[in-house]
Symmetry: C2
Subunit: 334 residues, 2 copies
């Protein structure tokens, strides 16, 4: 099989690539070639694998690559929420136009590629006529409150239409917020969900910009990658006639996250997090889903992480063995 991962050099894309290379196959078929397309080249450990081809550059300039014929595609590349709010046209280009180029290129290749589109819990939002339920389900009416969420939702429907027409064999998996992410804090409003775990483990003091009772559906990187692969391998019939589903999320409050941190790493680590409300971030987060359910993903055998302790432990284990995790990440862990 020849597989493409767009966004294949990013945090999730590279982890997905490592998992596919480790398995060696998808749906019982050997993966001979794994193409990683991203703005920047894939990490060295991936490029060292003979099956990997790394392509760096904007997706809109990769038409020849995209139409070269793939058995399977994981479409993860995307401008993120904050970027799209700051630069509307960049968002439309990076998300909408790039995905259309990908879909049309796959169609032009003559091969009906199996495709997983990484959508997002950001398709959900409150509106005055239709307040968001405490748990957003597969049947909740989406009402995105960001351009990013709007793009993801539009593209879910476009992927469904290309699939209905027989141009591709697509499906869309709505990712929950992924934590714990390694590396530095970034500009995303969700950055603190990782930061309040990652920074104290590294020995750094940090602030939590929202109240302790804020609740949100989270997923560890490992569980998220397992979800993407499972949705890829699911038959069309198993998708239940609908193509977009919620991946499982663990619904936790910030206080539960910090209690788990204390259990796993001790009170000294937990004490490195102070609450300092940031009205801008708290305002954005108040429009987000407080929790999710995922019946259709459960029907595929998928489950949320067992506990937030497990999610923290996965991060600690990753820091000890995985590429891409900085050496000083566990400096604060006695």
């Amino acid at each position: 099989m020849r597989i493409l991962i767009t966004g294949g050099a990013g945090f999730l894309g590279a982890r997905l690539a490592r998992e596919i290379l480790k398995r060696g196959q998808l749906n019982g078929q050997t993966v001979d070639e794994l193409v990683l397309a991203d703005l920047f080249p894939a990490p060295a450990d991936l490029q060292a694998d003979a099956r990997v081809k790394s392509h760096a550059g904007p997706m809109l300039e990769q038409a020849d690559l995209l139409k070269s014929g793939f058995d399977g595609v994981f479409h993860l590349a995307s401008a993120v929420s904050g970027e799209c709010e700051l630069d509307f046209d960049l968002g439309m280009r990076s998300n909408v136009d790039s995905t259309r180029l990908l879909l049309d290129s796959l169609r032009a290749s003559g091969k009906v590629s199996r495709l997983v589109f990484a959508s997002s819990v950001a398709v959900f939002g409150p509106d005055a006529a239709n307040p968001m339920p405490d748990r957003v389900s597969d049947n909740t009416l989406p009402s995105p409150q960001t351009s990013y969420g709007t793009h993801k939702l539009m593209l879910e429907y476009l992927v469904a239409d290309y699939t209905r027409k027989g141009f591709i064999d697509g499906r869309a998996a709505r990712l929950m917020t992924v934590a714990v992410r390694p590396g530095k804090p970034n500009g995303a409003a969700s950055s603190f969900f990782s930061g309040i775990i990652r920074e104290p483990l590294a020995g750094t003091h940090t602030t939590c910009p929202v109240d302790a009772n804020v609740s949100h559906p989270l997923s560890s990187p490992g569980t998220t990658i397992h979800g993407l692969i499972t949705v890829f391998e699911a038959s069309r019939e198993a998708m239940g006639g609908r193509l977009a589903l919620n991946l499982p999320g663990l619904n936790v409050t910030v206080s539960q996250m910090l209690e788990a941190l204390e259990k796993v790493a001790g009170p000294a680590v937990r004490a490195r997090v102070k609450f300092e409300r940031d009205e801008r971030i708290a305002g954005i987060v108040s429009n987000w889903a407080k929790g999710s359910t995922s019946d259709r993903a459960h029907a595929l055998g998928l489950k949320a992480d067992n506990s937030f302790e497990d999610i923290i432990q996965q991060y600690i284990d990753d820091c000890r063995e995985r590429p891409g995790y900085p050496a000083e990440a566990l400096r604060g862990l006695s």
Copy 2:
């Protein structure tokens, strides 16, 4: 006010134009100029009005016109369902690309135009995981089963995002199936909803391709136009924080339609309709909404037609007084 109607030379667009010219104002402001953009020039009676400017040509070639600054826009232009199924790329161009050009042109004009996007009951459809309710409501999860319905739904969300960003002041009104349409039968699968009334009134025998118990939400042209203008004139607050709503539909079965025809026009006219099942059309129609509700439109004061007799009577009155209705349309009425 300077107003644009895209699709302004078509059946609904021209009727909307005549209604606006008759009123002379929208939202209490005088309409000084009414631009009708369509593939073909506007009908003569409209061009005779000094306030009307007719622009013929593909929308994708009208960037200069579209960015010339409008106070209000009714965006009706669209490739229809059958066309989009036959020619996927034409549908994407005519619906998705053209609407993006319109939205970006309005944004570039520097004026925040009030815009009504004509969406469709075709955004709804059944899927295995989520069967369609007997009445599709404002809160029913859309699941389009055609490219046309997919485009309409994607564009509802895009209009909402341009509005959220402050580029336009948009809203989307989902039209129910409009009957009775004048003129000839066309290739649309819904053509018979008008045909089984229009043809017998013209003295022509016709067939009904679906069973008598088939039910569907219909709206007369007059009620549909009234709905579009009311949605245009509604304040953002009155839209209830959500931008797409179902226009009211009269939920009727084919047998109720024919009973109404007999009441209004007599048994001899009714007898010109024979049932001859067409599996292709019956199959398509079986995926359509059997009825609708429209609570949010009701809150704006909108109502469905009172009865199908009223809808037939409106058609008969139109044939006696309106441009665009052929002289021989009532030949079968004794």
